[in-house]
Symmetry: C2
Subunit: 414 residues, 2 copies
C-alpha cells in the first residue's frame, strides 16, 4: 500500500526568509526511509486561516507532519488550530504543566526572568487536544498525534527537539501502524565531478530515461552533479541496467555511489595519512571543512590562514621575492603554500590556496573568481588555476570543493 | 491596495531534502521589499499533477512566482504545465533557440558532449507559452510572465540565475504595474544576545503585544534571539512605542537595531584595528567567519588552526608544560592561544579557542560542548568557558557566535 504525506512548516520567520527551514528536508528524508511518498511541503506564517488552508490542502493524504508554533508566545498557535481542524478542543493537562514548569523554572533560575509571565507561558504550552497522543517535551514544548485520515503529527520547530521527538512519535501506536502499511522506496545517489547539467541531460535523453519505472532527479550541489533515483522494489533490475549505462558513459567523473559525500570519501582516503592547510582567500573554510567530520583530529594536524603577505612569509614560509615576482595570487605562491603547510606541520599532505574571492581585487588578467590551488604529497602534486563564478561566498565554498577533488585525485595516484 | 503572492518551488531534489531551497527565502525578502504580502511557499516535486495542484492552491492570489524546472531534461516541466494552467500552449521560438544554442555550444566546446542531444535540449528550452513575456536566459533557460489574476512569473532554479532574472522581471510591464499597486510594508529587526525565548515570550505577554497592529515574530538563530516586526505605514507610531518598551526591558542584550548581523557589527567595530585567531575545535571556522565579509582583509591578518598539541606549541607558542598541567581544553590554554595569535601575527586583537566539539572526547569534568574562549587586546581580555548544546556542527558554529559577542564586549570596553 502506498502512504502519502504532506509537511507543513509553520513560522513567519521561515516564510519571511529570516531563517532557512531545516525541518522540511529532514522530515522528507525520514519519510522516504519509511517508504512514505511525500507530496508537498507547505511553508505558512503564524496566521490561523493560513494554517487551516494548508491543512485543507492535505485533506486527502494519509499523514500530515507539522513543525513549529508550539512555543510559549501568542503567535505560537499550531496546536490550537490543528485541534480545531481535527474537530476537538484544547484542554489543560495539569501534570504536564508541572513537568514543563520544572524545565522552564530551571532555565529561569539560570538566566533570570519574572516568574508569573513565564509560568503563564508554561501553562499555555501544557494545553493539548482532547483525545491526542501526547509526546513529551524535548525542549519545553510537548507535541502530539491526533486524528486519522489524515493522521496529524504536531512537532516542535527547533531542529534538535523535532528530531528527538520524531523518534518518540514513530514508536507510538497510530504512527507505527501507519508506517508499517507503507511499501518500500529505494533511493540511490550517484555523484559526479566534473559533469555539467547539459551533459547529463543529453545522456538521460539518449537513454530514454523518462520511459523507465524510475524517478530520476539531477541537481548541482556545491559544484558537483548529483543523480538521485527513487524506485519501488520491483524496479530494482531496471535501476541496475540504468546505473550500468550511466557508469559506461560517465564512470570517469563518478566519485561516489554509496551516498558518501566528497568529504566522507576524503576522510576514508586519508586513513594513515596526515594533512595540513595554508590558505588565503578561503580564510579558514578549507581547514573548517576538513575538520567538520568527527574523527578528523586523527588526520588533520592544522592549518594557517595567511591573509596578509607578511603572514604568508612568516607563517607558511613563502619567499617574499616569489610574491613580489608573481603576485600573491599565482601558481608559484600556491605551490609555496602547500609546501609550507607540509613543512610547518610535518604533514604528509599539504593544501595551498590563494585567490581572489571578490567582490573587489580583480584585474583583467586575474579577475574575481581566479583561484590557484596546489596539493602536495611526497609522491607528487596536483596544481590548478580555476576561474569560479558567483559571489564571494560561492567562490570560497566552490574552492574547497575543487580542492577536495584534487586531493582525491592525488591520493588515488599514490 | 494589498497585493498577495504565493511562491512555488519546484524540484524533486528540493522536496526530497537532497538540496536546501535558497530561492523561497530570497524571493520572500524581495516581495516584502516591494510591499507584497506572501501567503505561502509550496515545495513540489517534478510531477505535473502536483504542480497543477499548487497553482490551484494559489488561484486567488495576485502573483505567483515559480522557481525551477526550466532545464533541458525531461523532468523539467514547469513551463509546459504553467502554460496549460494559464490556458495557452507552448511554441518554439527559433531565434531564442539559436541564442540558447550559442550558450550551450560554447559550454560543449569547453567540456565536451555530443552535439545532437545537447541541441535537442536547447530546442526544448526554447519553447515558450504563446502570449508570454519572455525573460532572456541568465544561464541556459529563459523564464517568462504569463496570465493575470494571478500573474505567474516563471523563473529558473539556480539561485544566481533566478536572482538576475528577477531583476529583469520587475522591469517588465505586467510585473512593474502590479508591484506599483502594492502598499508599503515596513520591517524592523532587533537582535539580542543573550536572551532566551521564554524571557521574550514573557515580555511580549506583559506588553500585550498580540493586541497591537504589528506582526511580531521571534526566532532563535545561531544562538541569538531575533525579534522581527512587520507593519503597514499607519502603524509606525505603534511600532515606535513597542520598540521603546522592549528597549527598556532588554536594552542590555540588544546588539543590533539596524538589520546588521553580529558579523557586520564586528566589521564596523574593527575599523582601525587588526585581528588574528588561534583555534582548535572550530578548526578554521572562526577565521572563515571573520573573512566572510568583503573588505575583511583590511583587519584580518590571519590565523592558525592548531588541532594537535604539537601545533599548538609550534605555531601558537603555547607552552607544552601548560598543556600537560591543565589539558589542551582549559582556560589557561585558551589564554595562551589568544596571546599567541596576537604575537605571531602582530595583531591588536587575538582570539583563542579550544574545546570539545564531540561527538567523542568528552569527560565528566569536561563534557562534549565544553569550550574555553579568550579574546585579548592591549587594554584587557574577555575570557569564558561555556557548555554548548547540540551536535558537533552546532557546537562549532555556536562557539563562533559566542566569540563574536565577547569580541564586541571587549572592543566596547576600550
Amino acid at each position: 500500500m502506498s502512504v502519502r504525506a504532506g509537511i507543513i512548516v509553520t513560522g513567519t520567520e521561515v516564510l519571511s526568509g529570516l531563517i532557512r527551514d531545516a525541518n522540511g528536508p529532514w522530515l522528507s528524508e525520514q519519510l522516504r526511509a519509511h517508504g512514505v511518498s511525500l507530496r508537498e511541503i507547505v511553508v505558512v506564517g503564524d496566521r490561523p486561516e493560513d494554517l487551516r488552508r494548508a491543512l485543507d490542502f492535505f485533506s486527502d493524504v494519509d499523514l500530515v507532519l507539522t513543525s513549529g508554533g508550539l512555543g510559549p508566545t501568542a503567535d505560537d498557535l499550531t496546536a490550537e488550530v490543528v485541534a480545531g481542524w481535527a474537530g476537538t478542543r484544547m484542554e489543560l493537562d495539569p501534570a504536564l504543566e508541572e513537568r514543563i514548569w520544572a524545565i522552564v523554572n530551571t532555565l529561569r533560575r539560570r538566566i533570570g526572568g519574572e516568574e508569573a509571565p513565564m509560568r503563564a507561558g508554561a501553562r499555555k504550552q501544557a494545553h493539548v487536544p482532547v483525545g491526542a497522543v501526547v509526546l513529551e517535551p524535548r525542549g519545553t514544548a510537548p507535541g502530539f498525534l491526533i486524528g486519522s485520515a489524515p493522521l496529524v503529527a504536531v512537532l516542535p520547530g527547533p531542529p534538535r527537539e523535532l528530531q528527538a521527538m520524531w523518534g518518540d512519535a514513530v514508536s507510538t501506536e497510530p504512527l507505527r501502524s501507519l508506517l508499517a502499511s507503507a511499501g518500500s522506496l529505494e533511493q540511490r545517489i550517484l555523484r559526479f565531478f566534473p559533469l555539467s547539467e547539459p551533459q547529463i541531460a543529453a545522456t538521460l535523453r539518449e537513454l530514454d530515461a523518462d520511459s523507465r519505472p524510475l524517478e530520476i532527479t539531477t541537481c548541482l550541489r556545491r559544484g558537483e552533479l548529483e543523480l538521485a533515483t527513487v524506485y519501488e522494489e520491483p524496479a530494482a533490475a531496471a535501476y541496475a541496467d540504468f546505473e550500468a549505462e550511466i557508469r559506461a558513459r560517465h564512470g570517469d567523473a563518478l566519485f561516489s555511489d554509496s551516498g558518501a559525500t566528497i568529504d566522507e570519501v576524503i576522510a576514508q582516503l586519508l586513513s594513515g595519512l596526515t594533512i595540513a592547510t595554508a590558505e588565503s582567500c578561503t580564510g579558514g573554510l578549507m581547514a573548517g571543512r576538513l575538520t567538520d567530520l568527527a574523527g578528523s583530529s586523527a588526520y588533520v594536524l592544522g592549518g594557517v590562514v595567511v591573509y596578509s603577505n607578511e603572514a604568508k612569509t612568516a607563517l607558511a614560509g613563502v619567499d617574499a621575492g616569489l610574491i613580489a615576482a608573481h603576485g600573491a595570487v599565482s601558481p608559484e605562491v600556491a605551490s609555496a603554500l602547500s609546501a609550507g603547510a607540509r613543512e610547518r606541520f610535518g604533514a604528509d599532505l599539504g593544501i595551498g590556496i590563494t585567490g581572489i574571492a571578490g567582490p573587489g581585487g580583480g584585474t583583467p588578467e586575474k579577475p574575481v573568481g581566479t583561484v590557484c590551488l596546489s596539493i602536495a604529497a611526497p609522491w607528487g602534486v596536483e596544481e590548478r588555476t580555476v576561474r569560479l563564478p558567483g559571489s564571494r561566498t560561492d567562490v570560497r565554498d566552490r574552492t574547497t570543493t575543487v580542492a577536495l577533488h584534487m586531493l582525491r585525485a592525488l591520493i588515488l595516484r599514490r
